[in-house]
């Protein structure tokens, strides 16, 4: 069957998609909580004030959450899903736990989806944790990319947590992913 095509999220998603607690996978300031955020930028480097970022991630121990509750957070169930609309300067931020690698020796990353007015369809990307150099070097996706593009997928660690800017267009455009099938059986 032919897949239903996507369409832009448009300018008026703010009362349809955001919800209370959408960006707080864990309460800010709780044990292990980090800020994961950055800016969504257009081809001129300007921030998008009408973008929406979603993350989907493993727990710190690398297991995949299978629990509901993202829309009505109870403060202690980690669902692995969050949603954050950007502010006037294009910034988004989540309060979350750092994902662990889902396989021993694998590289840990957040699966990221980006939506925006003016963006015709959602885009997928990954935000890798920057710390495990050996795992990053062995990662099938990163090692399939030219050197200069790899860094677009690796979050920067700073005092507040992890920063990951998403550039929709331009010289240092983020690598966006086609996840529509497998090449390795």
């Amino acid at each position: 069957m032919r897949a239903t095509p996507g369409q832009t999220v448009g300018p008026f998603f703010h009362y349809g998609l955001p919800y209370d607690g959408d960006r707080d996978l864990v309460p800010p300031g709780s044990v292990g909580a980090v800020r994961f955020g950055g800016r969504v930028l257009d081809g001129t480097g300007a921030g998008l004030q009408d973008a929406l970022v979603e993350i989907w991630q493993a727990r710190p121990d690398g297991t995949v959450p299978r629990e509901p509750g993202s829309l009505r957070r109870d403060g202690w169930t980690f669902t692995g899903f969050g949603r954050a609309s950007t502010g006037r300067d294009g910034r988004y931020a989540f309060s979350t736990l750092e994902p662990g690698p889902t396989e021993p020796g694998g590289a840990a990353f957040f699966a990221v989806t980006v939506f925006a007015r003016g963006l015709m369809d959602r885009l997928f990307t990954r935000a890798y944790l920057p710390d495990d150099a050996a795992a990053l070097a062995a990662d099938p996706l990163l090692s399939s990319l030219p050197e200069e593009r790899r860094s677009t997928l690796v979050a920067r660690r700073d005092a507040r947590g992890l920063t990951f800017d998403i550039r929709l267009q331009g010289a240092d455009e983020t690598v966006f992913l086609d996840l529509s099938g497998y090449r390795r059986p």
Partner: protein, 261 residues
Amino acid sequence: MNSTPVPAPDLEPQEAISARIAAIEAAHRADGEGRPQPALDYPPYRSSALRHPTKDLHHTDPETIEREAPCFGDRDVDPLEADLTIGGAGEPIGERMIIAGRVTDAEGRPVRRQLVEVWQANAGGRYVHKRDRHPAPLDPNFTGAGRCLTDDDGYYRFQTIKPGPYPWRNHHNAWRPAHIHFSLFGTEFAQRLVTQMYFPGDPLFALDPILRSITDPADRELLVASYDHDLTTHEWATGYRWDIVLGGSRGTLMENEGDEA
């Protein structure tokens, strides 16, 4: 009395937009290449100019986390959220309607117990949104956002009001065909879909750069609901049916395109 807005001089006329829409579609048809739908680089939708990637999407095999999707359940969604007509003290203005259908994957398997979110304009074409400056009336009894979970066979169902078409500033005299925005999750990350559902026979289809950014007419058809008299209820609401197929990667083994895998 003169209430006709003066056109901004920088806005292109519809004829120019329509000509560009037709030229892009003809070029895509002529080269016969399958391509992502919709086109990400689509100049007739002005705002896409600086917001589309210039490099091709990079293929990668989905990893563990990407082979799953977030779970939602009864604790996330109140069944009343599927009725967009009950938010106010009174009945909203407009044509009461049911929109219902089935969510499946590309093999026709139902997507069970998964989240569907919708948002839309009211019957006058106005969103409850601070950035909507269309001078059509707000309806105190209609906010236009809803949610539900699909059932065990993948079916969803909303009761709402038929949205009106509305103007936007993409070009001079630009009007969006009436539509409902839909957001869906599948059983794997890459099935995530945000799209728009349209109503059959809308005269604005040909003029709309957002719908026409899907350059294959057969794919555009997939976004148009059909009137369904079995969903229409006696002396209450008209019914529309719209089925949704989530793509994604499950079971799809791609050609290796010559490289040794």
